[in-house]
């Protein structure tokens, strides 16, 4: 299968840009923000302020290029590695950080923000996006659901069931697989004997497209088209974003145990942010000062979110009981009383 590319690694256009320069600047800024968060979170984990953290460095274009195709009313259903997409769609940094500190309140998106808490189990959440889009349709809305998952997740049975349901019911679902080459220590080539992830769409009677996941413009274009199809009632699409996890799986992982450093170095040189920078620069729409400026601003926003998250008192012994049901059962009330007293 062919891989769509619009922006060559050196930043030159090989096709028509689907976005204006202003729009590209906006998305460039979002990628920079994502990276600011990513670096901050990695650093915090090293200081023991976060539980494990899963970096998405190198996958910023795959996430921002796709999520940018959504309207506010649409849904994002992603994983532990999709913070940039979630944030772009309205999930505040403070929530993301809270979650990573180990606080359930991170999962409480603000009202009106249609972003599910990140899925930690691999593979089970794509069918949720199918259900969400389906409910929107039955409730008379044209909102669509975009779901993010990795190459590893395609091995789970639930991936298959989600794809099959979406195909059969033509639900407004956009499946975005970030094929980042690895599932912890397992290379994609050992995850499946299929040559591409995109071709798996054939098994479900839906279109599958393969796209350079480090190319913001190509990501945007295929996502825009998939969203438009879904919104028009023409059914789901599988997008395979070919990208790479340049960092470790999580902060507890040591990639040197299973892969060659050169591979990662090679992919670092295909950095999606650098590619857009080169494009904007060639267009005269970039200068170092501007980037330094937005970087500082976005970094500060993350810092503020960190402060806010860390200022929040952890749950007391009683509060952990408060959200199991709308009303606690008698058993839970009894247990809560014991817990406070115990």
């Amino acid at each position: 299968m062919e891989m769509l590319q619009i922006l060559a690694p050196d930043g030159t256009l090989t096709g028509e840009a689907p976005l204006s320069v202003d729009e590209v600047r906006r998305l460039f800024r979002a990628m920079v923000a994502g990276r600011a968060y990513d670096h901050k979170a990695t650093a915090m984990q090293k200081q023991g302020r976060l539980a494990t953290y899963a970096s998405f460095e190198g996958q910023e274009a795959a996430q921002i290029g796709s999520v940018a195709a959504l309207e506010e009313r649409d849904w994002v259903v992603g994983t532990y590695r999709d913070a940039a997409a979630m944030w772009f769609h309205g999930y505040p940094w403070v929530n993301l950080i809270l979650g990573r500190t180990g606080d359930e309140r991170g999962g409480h998106a603000p009202d009106g923000v249609n972003v599910m808490p990140p899925s930690i189990t691999v593979g089970a959440h794509m069918i949720h996006a199918v259900g969400l889009g389906w409910s929107e349709r039955l409730l008379g809305s044209d909102a669509v659901a975009m779901t993010y998952f990795g190459d590893g997740a395609t091995s789970e049975g639930d991936f298959h069931e989600a794809m099959n349901f979406a195909g059969v019911y033509r639900t407004p679902t956009v499946f975005v697989c970030q094929n980042n080459g690895w599932a912890i220590s397992m290379p994609t080539s050992r995850q499946t004997a299929s040559e591409t992830i995109a071709q798996k769409a054939i098994a479900y009677g839906m279109p599958g497209v393969r796209v350079d996941g480090n190319d913001l413009l190509a990501m945007y274009q295929v996502s825009r088209d998939a969203v438009a199809r879904a919104r028009a009632g023409e059914g789901p699409t599988l997008i395979e974003a070919v990208t790479y996890r340049v960092g470790p799986h999580t902060t507890t992982d040591d990639p040197d145990r299973y892969r060659d450093g050169e591979e990662a170095a090679e992919w670092r040189s295909r950095d999606p942010i650098a590619r857009v920078r080169a494009y904007l620069q060639a267009d005269g729409a970039w200068d170092a000062e501007w980037e330094a400026d937005i970087e500082q601003t976005e970094h500060d926003a993350v810092e503020r979110a960190v402060d806010e998250a860390e200022a929040l008192e952890p749950f007391g012994a009683g509060e952990i009981f408060d959200a199991m049901y709308a009303e606690p059962t008698p058993q839970l009330i009894e247990q809560r009383d014991k817990s406070i007293g115990r």
Partner: protein
């Protein structure tokens, strides 16, 4: 008014719910054109359309997972899994997602869905068609587990389950689908979740059961009465939330208890009930609480099934054992 079966009562409850609230949808295998393997959804697709009464591919995890997404999105899905033995592929969706979304989003997202599950042995069905694994659901925080034993309760509990803001596993005793009948009031009604019912008041011994075993337990109380033992019969109706007060109150009065279920003995729900009784009523106990249960074996097939399912005699004998102390 004529009498209706438990299956018909559920059908009526579903029909009313579909009528009352546009957000209610049904999804399951073969529930549409055929009305389900037990015909519980008979006529509903014809009446409410294939968009609301949805025939699904053979994929239980997908069905529950999709229904979860629908519920988060604002619908009220009522899932049918054909037999309890086919819920296991959906166990992960139920535990990891359905039961947790309220907690992990601190009330922002909720999953007000109902999973209807025919359960239990006694009809000589094929392998995997006679399961009673309610304990595996009752142990999962965030789920409610409801088990009717009469047409009235089935309809009333179902309406409550559908109205409940949290996910409910609704267990339907296969053996009682057509073997119990009663008249139902013409107007809609509900039965609250979490409230046991004293099916028969008594003073000598408390028989505690639910769902599929209620018929045997009621019959056992009858036999015991003839033998001069006045048994109180409690139909739990909900396992989660559990009406512990009803159980403890009764046992404190009678001093004796027999807990009955068809499920395997080890780590069955009867252990929980027994544990609670000894925790809260130990000093009232005149005899050990007896458990009458299915064995720790795969439910035998048709030719030997009868050796598995607790009988009226087993229950009577257990009650009499408690009377001897």
């Amino acid at each position: 008014m004529s009498e209706v079966t438990l299956a018909a009562a559920i059908n009526a409850g579903l029909s009313e719910a579909l009528d009352a609230d546009e957000r209610v949808v049904l999804i399951g295998e073969d529930i549409g054109t055929t009305g389900g393997v037990f015909r519980v959804t008979d006529g509903l697709q014809q009446r409410f359309g294939a968009e609301r009464v949805i025939d699904a591919p053979v994929a239980e995890s997908g069905i529950v997972g999709a229904a979860f997404g629908m519920a988060v999105g604002g619908l009220i899905p009522v899932v049918e899994i054909q037999f309890m033995g086919f819920t296991y592929p959906a166990y992960d969706q139920l535990i990891s997602h359905v039961s947790r979304i309220r907690n992990r989003s601190r009330h922002r997202f909720t999953a007000p869905l109902v999973v209807r599950v025919p359960y239990g042995a006694g009809i000589g069905a094929a392998e995997h068609h006679s399961e009673s694994m309610e304990a595996a659901f009752a142990h999962v925080p965030g789920l409610k587990v409801v088990v009717p034993s009469t047409p009235y309760d089935a309809k009333g509990l179902l309406r409550s389950a559908i109205a409940d803001p949290d996910p409910v596993v609704f267990l339907e005793p296969i053996r009682l689908y057509r073997s119990v009948k009663e008249e139902l009031p013409p107007e809609p009604f509900t039965v609250p979740l979490g409230a046991a019912e004293v099916a028969r008041p008594g003073t000598d011994v408390t028989l505690i059961a639910y769902g599929a075993m209620m018929k045997e337990v009621r019959a056992a109380a009858h036999v015991l009465a003839e033998r001069g033992v006045d048994a109180e019969v409690i139909d739990l109706r909900s396992l989660v939330p559990l009406d512990s007060d009803a159980i403890i109150g009764s046992v404190i009065r009678t001093g004796r208890a027999v807990v009955v279920h068809e499920a395997h003995r080890t780590a069955g729900f009867g252990a929980e009930i027994t544990a609670q009784i000894q925790e809260k009523a130990l000093y009232s106990l005149l005899a050990p609480v007896e458990r009458v249960t299915g064995w720790d074996i795969v439910v035998p097939l048709r030719r030997a099934e009868k050796h598995y399912v607790p009988t009226v005699d087993n229950i009577v004998a257990a009650a009499e054992r408690t009377m001897r102390s």
